[in-house]
Amino acid sequence: MSITATAVHAAAAGATGLSKVYGEGETRVVALDQVSVEFRRGEFTAIMGPSGSGKSTLMHCMAGLDTATAGSTRIGGTELVGLADKALTRLRRDHIGFVFQAFNLLPTLNALENITLPMDIAGRKVDQAWLDRVVDTVGLSGRLTHRPSQLSGGQQQRVACARALAGKPDIVFADEPTGNLDSRSGGEILSFLRNSVRELGQTVVMVTHDPVAASYADRVIFLADGRLVDELTMPTADSVLDRMRRFDAKGRTS
């Protein structure tokens, strides 16, 4: 009893028996097959797997952007399955942060306005001290009045990270956040995400196919064919790469 309670409390998000099926009949594709997973508070988790393994689908279902076919997903103590669109929207707004591969900033707003957008939408007051800290951490202090078009790709993605964190969400989902960046800018973003976990106590879940990116995480979980197949703690780029090679080998032999 006490163990379960602690588990629920310790997990920022989790899924139990999560399945996602697209299409029907001959075109039926099982993207997720009975996945159960937990993302602990204050941990940086990477989700890895080959293309089509279901890693993005897992993230989308857990973040309330997509609905599961079966099973349940939770953010904090809230069960997502069965939530209406309105409640899901509010949940995303107040409890989840997003970082997308293609920065996805509003070109009409400047950097600061983009960062505070979720709070503006919610009509919530910005926690100025926290915001300063976030902006400081991503190193954007001098560029807050710039429009996205005046920023480099790396800077834009840092704005996106700051936006994800500014509302002190329960969890941040990052979908291939370094996919559109060169390796130096990518490294900066990854360091920043790790720092936000280590220093700001945030929870980050990142989908990636890059072993180097995954090595920044505290834990890596591996998906293949919609199933959770393995997990590594304190990964290094090499250990992740090794694990990935085994997928390839298996893919070639089977």
Partner: protein, 857 residues
């Protein structure tokens, strides 16, 4: 390349829908106008042809027409169409029959004493019994023809309206007291004037002659030829028979042709007016088409760059975009042609079957020219509007295919555009100021046009401050969606401007017309309040002259303290014809405000003339001038100008004492004591306008239904009603351009939503709910529409001001009146349009799938 064009049109069906609709509406308007006016023209012509089939030659006496319709001016050559002339024509070898026709106005009163039909087409004529005692032109439905002064026949329509049966007593009036006549028969007639809402009363010939002309005289003789006689040969014979004089003799064919030409002119005039409004709709459509193609090209930048990369030339790209335009224009015009024909058919059905307009029915006429015009207009407008976007498309560099293309290509600077617009606006304002100072109507008109153009060019620049005007309110009310809406409305000033401008055109014209209408109303009110102090004006409903006896009757009516005639008499001064307005010298001062600028108003009492300042200036007259005049009766007289009247008076022109000119107002040979008809009689009452006095005045006129007794309020109301009616027609015609503008807003919003779907997906992901998305789209649309509305209202007032300057010479005292409620109403209407136009795009935006949108390229 043309295959790409076709594929593109097919692929973007939904996105092109609004463009197609815009072109469709414009061409439907054009086609509808042409088909309707052609159909109406052909129906009128075929009706016309029927009414002349029996007439080989017709001879008319212009003098007779003048003595009935005009104001006493005749050529006084003494020649007349007498019974003798008719007999001689009838005796010609080619003549089968010569019918002497008398015609004029005859008002028929219904059971309540009110006029049946409208005053302008109340026809009176003579009944000409043939050998069988019946008139073939007016076949009897029941009863018998009239014989003797106490009898009359009516057309069946009028008899039906008045509820008259054969044997009833009917009250009929010509221009004097009403006559009580016995209805002896009801006839059928095809006379278009009657079917168009008039009435027909036929008397026996002698009665008609004494009512309208003088005994033994006809207005017209219609000649029927014997079989085998050539009309032109008969015409020559008839002409030879006529006594010397000013007669019009024509064959029935010529007459029909003449009528046809008049019908053609009338329908052409109508079609030109309608086409002007269709042109406005098409012009509005240009903004939408240009906008659509600009957006399509921007959205397809990568695709077009790829085509360039694989070897397509610039020309090919331009041609492919233009081919799309031709295709869209063609499809839309074809549909527009169909829709227009449908509208014309519906309109014809409505006018001939539902409303009692009396217009003839006929087959729908779809001329080849109509088809060609509609399709060519639609295609040309579309291609012209797509020209610039097509050129822009060809300038896309092949490298653009490789770039990530996150955003449409960067905006070209507005510097050039703003400079051009600024120069135009300044030039226009300068011309307006100069025109206003120098009272030059040409400068005013040109200035207004140039300012209008300048503002259109400057709209992108103006969009920021004007949209900024509404922003604080939006943010207060709607928070983030309000802010996002503002930013979205401002992010592409050209697109916003083009969309708003489409609406601006309609709002400008509607506001302009409304302001002009309100200004004219006020000027009329002011004039009637300050210039005219008469309580009642008595006149004929059809503006034909009033019998002089009416004035005598009115003067005798109890409760009338003063009354004056207004009688127009034409006199010759040398070779010039001048019109004198005769008024009662003693009483006119208490009926109309007359202020002398020079000389004295009392000069009138000494038998001298008064002249209004404008007239004096125009004709170069001054105080003390003496005019040597020749009156209609041939006698001569000398008149001295005894006063020049200040502006803004109730009367204009040359004013003379009636007592002096009335005795000479009829041509020589008229019965002794006869005077010309009156324009009107002005009445001042002891106790102001009362219902009692109105009844007394009506009684004094013998209850003639054609005579109207109006107080000042009636006159003001009439002017107001006329203006309102004209405005309503204009609003209706301009409505089409507003509808097209609404399509434009829908189009822009739908395209914007499509372009920004990634942003919308992101906003949804980070927590903007569907309602917020909907609000964002709606508020942007609202802002764009308000921009169009505000600019339109401003420009409309400007144009009304300029037009007021042009009208001030004919309507002194005209000042600019901006009716606040209506203008606010237009602004509100623009806002409503914005919200309505956004309904569908906003719904689509809110329903976008988050993940699909985020992943969208």
């Amino acid at each position: 390349m043309y295959r790409t064009a076709l594929r593109n049109v097919l692929a973007h069906k939904a996105r092109l829908l609004m463009t197609i609709l815009a072109v469709l509406l414009g061409t439907a308007f054009v086609a509808g106008t042409l088909v309707f006016t052609d159909t109406l023209g052909s129906a009128l012509k075929s009706q016309n042809a029927k009414s002349y089939t029996d007439i080989a030659v017709t001879v008319s006496d212009p003098d007779s027409a003048r003595s009935i319709y005009g104001s006493g001016s005749t050529s006084s050559d003494g020649a007349a169409l007498t019974e003798d002339v008719r007999r001689r024509i009838a005796a010609l070898p080619g003549t089968a029959d010569a019918r002497g026709v008398v015609s004029g106005f005859a008002g028929i009163a219904d059971q309540h004493g009110k006029l049946i039909g409208d005053g302008f087409s109340t026809t009176g004529t003579n009944y000409v019994p043939g050998p069988d005692g019946k008139d073939a032109r007016y076949p009897l439905v029941e009863g018998r023809g009239p014989s003797g002064p106490g009898e009359v026949v009516l057309d069946s329509r009028t008899a039906g309206k008045g509820g008259f049966k054969v044997g009833d007593t009917v009250r009929v009036a010509v221009n004097g007291p009403v006559m009580q006549l016995k209805l002896t028969g009801i006839v059928h007639t095809n006379d278009p004037r009657v079917s168009a809402g008039g009435s027909l009363a036929a008397f026996d010939t002698a009665t008609a002659q004494s009512l309208y002309l003088s005994p033994g005289r006809f207005s017209q003789v219609d000649v029927k030829s014997r079989p085998g006689t050539d009309d032109n040969a008969l015409l020559t014979q008839v002409k030879a028979t006529l006594p010397g004089g000013d007669f019009g003799a024509e064959t029935g064919r010529q007459l029909a042709d003449e009528q046809d030409r008049m019908i053609a002119e009338a329908t052409k005039g109508m079609s030109q007016v309608l086409l002007a409004f269709a042109g406005i709709s098409l012009f509005v459509g240009i903004f939408i088409i240009a906008n659509t193609f600009t957006m399509l090209v921007a959205q397809r930048t990568k695709e077009l760059a790829l085509l360039r990369a694989v070897g397509a030339s610039r020309k090919q790209i331009t041609r492919s975009v233009l081919a799309e335009a031709v295709l869209i224009g063609g499809i839309a015009s074809a549909a527009g042609l169909l829709a227009g024909t449908g509208i014309a058919a519906g309109l014809q059905w409505l006018m001939t079957s539902v409303m009692d307009t009396g217009l003839p029915d006929g087959p729908l006429v779809i001329a080849p020219a109509t088809v060609l015009t509609a399709v060519a207009t639609g295609v040309l407008v579309t291609v012209a509007a797509a020209w610039l976007p097509a050129r822009r498309a060809s300038r896309i560099s092949p490298v653009a295919a490789m770039s990530s293309g996150d955003q449409p290509a960067t905006q070209k600077s507005l510097l050039l555009r703003n400079s051009v617009g600024g120069v135009l606006a300044l030039l226009g304002l300068g011309a307006l100021a100069a025109g206003s100072a120098s009272k030059s109507s040409g400068l005013l008109a040109a200035g207004a046009a140039v300012v209008l153009l300048g503002i259109f060019v400057l709209t992108p620049l103006l969009s920021r401050p004007l949209i900024g005007l509404f922003t604080p309110l939006l943010r207060r009310l709607y928070g983030t969606p309000g802010k996002l809406a503002r930013e979205n409305a401002l992010r592409n000033p050209r697109r916003t401007a083009a969309t708003a401008s489409a609406l601006t055109i309609g709002v400008t014209l509607i506001t302009g017309l409304t302001v002009i209408g309100a200004s004219v109303n006020q000027a009329v009110d002011k004039a009637s309040a300050t210039d005219v102090s008469a309580d009642y004006t008595v006149a004929m409903a059809n503006f034909s002259p009033l019998a002089p006896e009416v004035a005598t009757q009115i003067a005798k009516t109890p409760g009338v303290t003063a009354s004056s005639v207004e009688r127009t008499v034409s006199v010759k001064v040398g070779d010039d014809t001048r019109w004198l307005t005769g008024v009662n010298a003693d009483s006119i001062g208490s009926l109309v405000t007359l202020t002398a600028r020079e000389g004295s108003v009392d000069a009138l009492k000494q038998g001298q003339l008064l002249v209004s300042q404008d007239y004096a200036a125009r004709e170069g007259m001054k105080l003390g001038d003496t005019l040597a005049v020749t009156y209609p009766d041939g006698s001569a007289g000398r008149l001295t100008v005894g006063g020049v009247l200040a502006k803004d008076g109730g009367t204009t022109g040359l004013i003379a004492p009636d007592a002096l000119i009335a005795p000479h107002s009829k041509p020589a040979g008229s019965p002794a004591g006869a005077t010309a008809g009156l324009d009107k009689v002005l009445v001042k009452a002891a106790n102001g306008p009362t219902g009692q006095l109105r009844q007394a005045l009506t009684d004094a006129t013998g209850g003639n239904p054609l005579i109207t007794v109006k107080d000042q309020q009636d006159i003001r109301d009439e002017s107001r009603q006329m203006i309102t009616a004209v405005l309503n027609i204009m609003y209706g015609l301009l409505g089409m351009s507003v509808v097209v503008a609404v399509l434009g807003v829908v189009n822009t919003m739908a395209m914007s939503v499509f372009e920004r779907r990634r942003e919308i997906g992101m906003l949804r992901a980070i927590g903007l709910d569907r309602r917020g998305v909907r609000q964002t789209v709606r508020l942007e649309s609202l802002l764009i529409s308000l921009l169009g509305g505000v600019l339109g209202i401003g420009l409309g007032i400007l144009i009304a001001w300029a037009a007021g300057g042009l009208m001030r010479s004919s309507l002194p005292g005209l000042t600019l009146v901006v009716p606040p409620l209506q203008v606010l109403g237009f602004l509100f209407g623009a806002a409503l349009i914005g919200l309505l136009a956004a309904l569908w795009p906003a719904r689509r935006a809110a329903r976008l799938d988050i993940l699909d949108s985020i992943k969208a390229a």
